[in-house]
Symmetry: C2
Subunit: 338 residues, 2 copies
Amino acid sequence: MNLTRRRIQFGYRFLLAGCFAIFAVSICSVASAADPLPSWNDGPAKKAILEFVTTVTDKSSKDYVEPAERIATFDNDGTLWVEYPMYTQVLFSFDRVKELAPQHPEWKTEQPFKALLAGDMKTVGASGMKGLMEIILATHSGMTAAEFEQDATHWLASTRQPRFKRLYPECIYQPQLELLAYLRANGFKTFIVSGGGIQFMRPMTEKAYGIPRSQVIGSSVVSEFQIKEGKPVLVRMPKIDFINDKAGKPVGIYEHIGRRPILAFGNSDSDMQMIEYTTGGEGRRLGLFVHHTDADREYAYDRKSHVGTLDKALDQADANGWIIVDMKKDWKSVFPVK
Amino acid sequence: MNLTRRRIQFGYRFLLAGCFAIFAVSICSVASAADPLPSWNDGPAKKAILEFVTTVTDKSSKDYVEPAERIATFDNDGTLWVEYPMYTQVLFSFDRVKELAPQHPEWKTEQPFKALLAGDMKTVGASGMKGLMEIILATHSGMTAAEFEQDATHWLASTRQPRFKRLYPECIYQPQLELLAYLRANGFKTFIVSGGGIQFMRPMTEKAYGIPRSQVIGSSVVSEFQIKEGKPVLVRMPKIDFINDKAGKPVGIYEHIGRRPILAFGNSDSDMQMIEYTTGGEGRRLGLFVHHTDADREYAYDRKSHVGTLDKALDQADANGWIIVDMKKDWKSVFPVK
């Protein structure tokens, strides 16, 4: 997770006092039967996607790509689902600290737990990356794989995003669901490549995105095989194993997929290396970034945001041929109709 | 790789002087059209497999398993292809040392390289696991991902197993190819879970087994994302990242698949934890081991072997309901007809 001290000084109040405006259901235009991306407005982004997929699947084209090589990777936070005003998994960690507090009397005096339990988010923020990592490890380790899955599943099925009043797995982007389906219909294998926790995402990716667990790549803690009460289990240890962010993303892709993607989609500078790696390969490639420009329907943030900072990638996009997808202009609707 | 000092004292002569008997093409019996496993003899192993697959795919059964949960994991060395008298990847490393020697004048005096270059396998063996790791790291790191892939691909396409006179990717087991295909036809996703190097296996698994790269799990070195001569590449570093063997196998499964398999197939004590983990889950499960009992058609080895030791698992199989597949009795043929 790409969180600097500055970034997490966001204040919990912000979340609680978030705008409770009723989510405006986007107007569904009648899509032509032939349009595989009905929630995308006609424009340079949609055109680039359609042209790319048509070309690499056209056997008569010099840019034809064999199905096995049709790998598409998507960041998760801010690319497939809402990440603003705070990464979902961080909110999960905060909630878990509150639930686990009775079993941890020491948290009454230890920072950043003491501050978090008192709702003093300024002090939590001041504890920086180190404090955040302590919170994450305390809530993501010390249990079996099955227990953690239960924690994540329960939280994801019961916690609503304050502004949109939707469960988090419902705060996903309709245009991206169409793109994932369109790619798969054209022989692509779609993967998530996220800085988020690999096992936090897996309980929801299959249902939400149609992406099976084995096609989810993320950050991880060290796990150990143990026999516990006579049963073989995996136990999550309080130690970071791998951070699948920035330069870690191409590494995660190499380990899990073993092929260089031909299409990659991100939304922040943390995705730059993945998109560099993707578009730096031979043959036709496509790199895209979601630009959050839509304060009315979602959020507007980029260069100076505390989450999902899009700054360098925005400057370098043109020179590299990366497509900047303008949420406000390019997306006809944002969320799926419930 | 599970190699003890004793194990690698095998002597290169053994390989070179290997029995050059012409591979006896197994008699293809006319298989009934309904038999999905024509190279398996009727017997308890085949019966157990057919009964298991029929049950977990039968919607009316209490043991029905949803397609997404139908995960089958296979060890590679000794389970899907020949591992005797030495793991293929170790032989690749030895050959690579000879090819790389001109670029490494220091190897003329440094052990175990000096001994290896002089063909003194006794000294190489005496260098133990430490020496072997030096040889493996020297030949598996210091290059880009693409360069390593080229090395492995070239070697696999040009080096023959001395006894069977086949390329190594042709020294695969016909009954297992049928089993993999049968499982996939029944909605299973098939994975390789091997102690071998993940990137060494990937160039051959798709063609040989129909298993895509992203479904191959193995040991790895640390990789780094770098810009080299203006191009974004992954560079393999001289440091072990993960050993996907013994208790590492369930961990590799958790990281890469994120589900507990319902079927696992191995051939040695190194696969025990994977099979324990698999069969220790709830509902119907199947764990199997290849027992190498066939000195005529392949090799006969188990408890005291220097590769693929099958000892504890053999003792514990009955009590755990694990199936021991007797190569001599259970397999009608061993290798695919060329």
